[in-house]
């Protein structure tokens, strides 16, 4: 005679239930959901995952077969390419470096940016609009407005900076500004501009669109993302030798070995 498989209940305890897990109502897919709202992971989700993985594998093979990863000459500390650029995903920071103090642009601003990003769920604690793109039509309008606001302002600021520098701004600041070119142009003015324009954006969306917490967070996030993209694009495609501004189709080739003037 074969014994039934699995652990056997003790005599008299055949109907004993076990507590498997403690589950909060809001954190788990509800048990009383209707059957038609759910799909079996095998096969429905796994098929999607499999197809996505296959398409990306094929795409990656195709790209890798068509385009070779760049490889230049052996590294030479005595030979500076002009311009020397970071990889594209860091060119946003390198672009920012041109407009303010290095430590501010390269370390302080990105750190504050990351901390703010991480803090978003602790600022906007409402559960409104979970799972809905842009929360509402108003959210979408705010997203579009903030994207235009930040894109236009960032491009303008880059142009204004280029214009001022072309007209002797640095020399003028060194001679006439308190603290020379360091205090105001490298620290206080950029900080004031970054903070001021961010606050202005929040004020505008509150006034114009009656934004609540979620919505002004959308505005600030969209603004950040837009600035990030604009800086990346300008740093990648608009900067040539000397990190000067060029039209993307007229950027001169990089000077591979720049002899520093002594």
């Amino acid at each position: 005679m074969t014994a039934p498989r699995g652990p056997q209940p003790f005599p008299g305890q055949e109907k004993r239930l076990r507590l498997l897990a403690f589950v909060r109502q809001d954190s788990v897919v509800r048990v009383d959901k209707r059957v038609e709202d759910t799909a079996m992971v095998w096969p429905h989700l796994l098929v999607i995952e499999f197809i996505a993985a296959m398409l990306w594998s094929i795409g990656l093979f195709a790209i890798s077969a068509a385009f070779n990863a760049p490889l230049q000459d052996h590294a030479n500390p005595d030979c500076t390419p002009n311009p020397s650029k970071a990889p594209w995903y860091l060119l946003n920071l390198q672009e920012l470096l041109l407009h303010m103090d290095k430590g501010l642009a390269g370390v302080v601003v990105p750190t504050i940016w990351l901390v703010f990003m991480a803090a978003i769920p602790y600022i906007d604690r409402s559960r409104e609009g979970v799972g809905i793109w842009f929360t509402s039509r108003n959210g979408l309008r705010i997203t579009i407005f903030a994207a235009f606001y930040a894109t236009l302002l960032t491009f303008s600021l880059i142009l204004v900076d280029a214009f001022l520098k072309a007209h002797g701004y640095i020399e003028f600041a060194s001679d006439h500004f308190p603290g020379g070119k360091q205090l105001l142009p490298n620290y206080l003015i950029p900080i004031a501009v970054m903070l001021g324009l961010s606050f202005l954006l929040v004020v505008i969306v509150k006034r114009l669109y009656g934004a609540n917490t979620r919505e002004w967070n959308i505005a600030v996030f969209t603004g950040f993302i837009s600035v990030y993209l604009v800086l990346t694009i300008v740093g990648t495609s608009f900067r040539g030798p000397g990190m000067d501004l060029f039209a993307p189709w007229a950027v001169p080739a990089t000077h591979q070995c720049f002899e520093p003037r002594t």
């Binding site: 790209i63 650029k85 769920p121």
Partner: protein
Amino acid sequence: MLEIPAQIWQKTKTSYIWRSLFRHGYPDSRKNQSLAVFTNVFLHLHPVKVRRHALAIPYTWCMGGLSFFLFLILTLTGTLLMFYYHPSVDGVYNAYGDIKDLETVVVFGQLLRNMHRWAAHGMVITVFLHMIRVFYTGSYKPPREFNWVIGTLLFFFTILLSYTGYLLPWDQLAFWAVTVGYEIARASPFIGDEFAFVLFGGYQLGPNALLRWYVLHVVGLPLTVGFLIAIHFWRIRKDGGITGPL
């Protein structure tokens, strides 16, 4: 004619060894489909059932999953690349020479390197897009607050992984791109020089920097990212899967 393979298949499926490997029948019934997911170590990250809207590609863009997929590809191609790579700036076996060998000597070496390179760029993009999707769908809201924090860390570490890898070919592109980072690190307020010294192993970009970034790239950062991914996925499950309208 087909009876023999059918019999072999039947014998295999009922054999002792097969049943020790697979603890369920072919997943064509609800019961076996459930068992297939939760008795499999690779699939058990999934629940047995998901809400239908979680399958909608316009909602998720698949970007989180594809980021993980690229991470796996990068781990695989990266491990293969490690067989051919010496983190050294000169000598008979040096980093630059190894990359040249990959391009000219190693069979499929160029393809391997290309795949690693483009997947790395791709992962920066997919992680970024994933973050955008999560933000605009409000998926950071309770109870997922802390998972969003882990996500921002993962974004940061993805960039760091990509950047540390950028130095390894030790060509002009790598050297001067990382010089930009070196200058930024040195400009950090208060601890600039010390920070740069720890990160680059010296006061200029040289053999120590290459070795440090290599170790970070192949051990330190992947382990960190793997650890964070594990928490990230675990919390997604515990918080009820992909978000959807309440």
